[in-house]
């Protein structure tokens, strides 16, 4: 089930420079949402900016009927969203898309996050904890101050391995390099879940392939509708010779790592 509704803001908080957490009252969405799914959020109120913005579901509080989003100010739409205050309504469409598949056993999994990629992965980590699955979380960010949710993730019983581009915390370098080094030592994961910028995901797919493990990646593409109608958000899947365009909004955003063809 997916819904179109106006949700009241219960809280909006800046939790780091240019990074916001937004809580919304949307019981139907909270009840239906699965990790990896997203909402199409109306950031403005006039004809410009025109389109909704896809934002992942970061967490749900089913008891209180709340949905949390975690977003980075990337441009005009997200900048407008920061201006909305408690009590104001935000039009939401969702939950949309195919989320992460939850593991069938309680075997250890790995979660690899780059930057704002933690947004959907945090929801996944919450659910994993509920199912008693532990994760090694490779958490990449530009700098120490942007290693969001570290404490919360540890609190859920997961292990966190931070990496920062500037070396201000944890591993100094790319989170995929940290992850590759770790895999070289031990690659016993039932599943690798990943989300982050394009380049990071591409490298992650290589590592997953190299070690022959299962993996799922959550992709990003510019969206018109978010519901599968406009065919704008496609990504290439399949293998040489049988390439297929699939819609990130409905057939994704989460795809098996091996199915994505990188341009």
């Amino acid at each position: 089930m997916s819904f179109l509704l106006d949700a009241e803001i219960t809280k909006q908080e800046m939790i780091g420079p240019g990074h916001y957490r937004l809580n919304l009252l949307a019981p139907d969405i909270a009840a239906a949402a699965r990790p990896g799914q997203f909402l199409q959020v109306r950031c403005g109120s006039t004809l410009d900016p025109f389109l909704r913005r896809p934002i992942s579901i970061n967490a749900v509080d089913r008891e209180n009927g709340e949905v949390a989003l975690f977003y980075r100010v990337a441009g005009r739409g997200t900048a407008l969203l920061t201006q909305k205050a408690q009590g104001e309504p935000v039009s939401l469409l969702g939950p949309l898309g195919r989320g992460f598949s939850l593991p069938k056993s309680q075997a250890r999994v790995a979660v690899v996050s780059g930057g704002i990629g933690i947004a959907p992965l945090y929801f996944l980590l919450l659910e994993l904890a509920v199912f008693g699955v532990s994760a090694d979380v490779f958490l990449g960010a530009a700098t120490a101050g942007q290693l969001f949710f570290t404490k919360e993730i540890k609190g859920l019983g997961h292990r966190v391995e931070p990496a920062t581009d500037d070396g201000s915390a944890g591993y100094h370098g790319l989170v995929t390099d940290l992850f590759a080094e770790n895999m070289a030592r031990s690659s016993e994961y039932a599943m690798i879940y990943g989300c982050g910028p394009g380049g990071m995901q591409r490298r992650l797919a290589e590592i997953i392939k190299e070690f022959g493990v299962s993996g799922e990646l959550s992709l990003e593409e510019r969206m018109g509708c978010g519901v599968g109608a406009c065919l704008s958000c496609v990504c290439k899947t399949g293998s040489e010779g049988s390439i297929q365009y699939r819609r990130v909004c409905t057939e994704g955003p989460v795809f098996p790592a091996g199915e994505v063809v990188w341009a």
């Binding site: 410009d48 510019r222 018109g224």
Partner: protein
Amino acid sequence: MSGVNASKDAGRSHLTVNIGSLRMKNPVTVASGTFGFGPEYAPYLDLNRLGAIVVKGITLLPRAGNTTPRLVETPAGVLNSIGLQNPGVERFITEALPFLADYDLPVIVNIAGDTAQDYARLAEKLSRTAGVAALEVNISCPNIKKGGLQFGSDPASAAEVTRLVKESTHLPVIIKLSPNVTSIVAVAEKVAAAGADALSLINTLLGMAIDIRARRPVLGNILGGLSGPAVKPVALRAVWQVRQAVPLPIIGMGGITSAADAIEFLLAGATAVAVGSANFVNPLATMEVLAGIESYLNENGFNNIREISGLAHNNI
């Protein structure tokens, strides 16, 4: 929400409009390519309440579409270069059409080809298919290399496609025109003379956007088609001009987001209206447009939707 519902609109004949021999229970439909094949928006609204559905453009063979990015937002608008990704007419008939058979909803199939013959063959094929109510002939797609806009920008070619399609079908033939021409009236006149039953105005305006960081066009296809509120004044002008010159019913579209927008198109001369890009922002846009048109009729003492079509021409 599927299954044959007793339509809420049954009996409200004051909203009925005719597009050639196609009868629509109300004047509100959707623009091709913005509403998929129906299931995409069925979770949000009762499709039976639409006057008709216009499906995504269909070609003879499946098409993969253009490389990405295929869409970029512009001021109050959207540029797209989908490139007619579609499963081809065979799979459209077997895979997409059955879903719509359960609805009390005329299905208008938007068709596109590389050659005039392609259009004829599509028309023939679809005429033999149950559940197809009319054809919308897309001679105005800016996003494909061959055909498309090529036909739409030359009055003679547009007429040729029209003639061939008319010869190949008994279904009402709606020709969808491009605004990217010096005179849309000249094209409309030729197409009318060639036997078109109705016109759809307008397809997208040719445009582009540049990524100043990457220093290259944003769209994979470089050029794209502009739609959304930004183009409304141009679309309205096209409807106005064509209405003055050609006596065919017009499905007006281009930037409609509200009932007020739709009423502008009706007053300018459209018989019906199609909501396009606005569906992306508000999946209930069609329903709001329909409700708003009804209120407008009531509040202004009109008994019938047909009374307002073209009315603004009387007041100049």
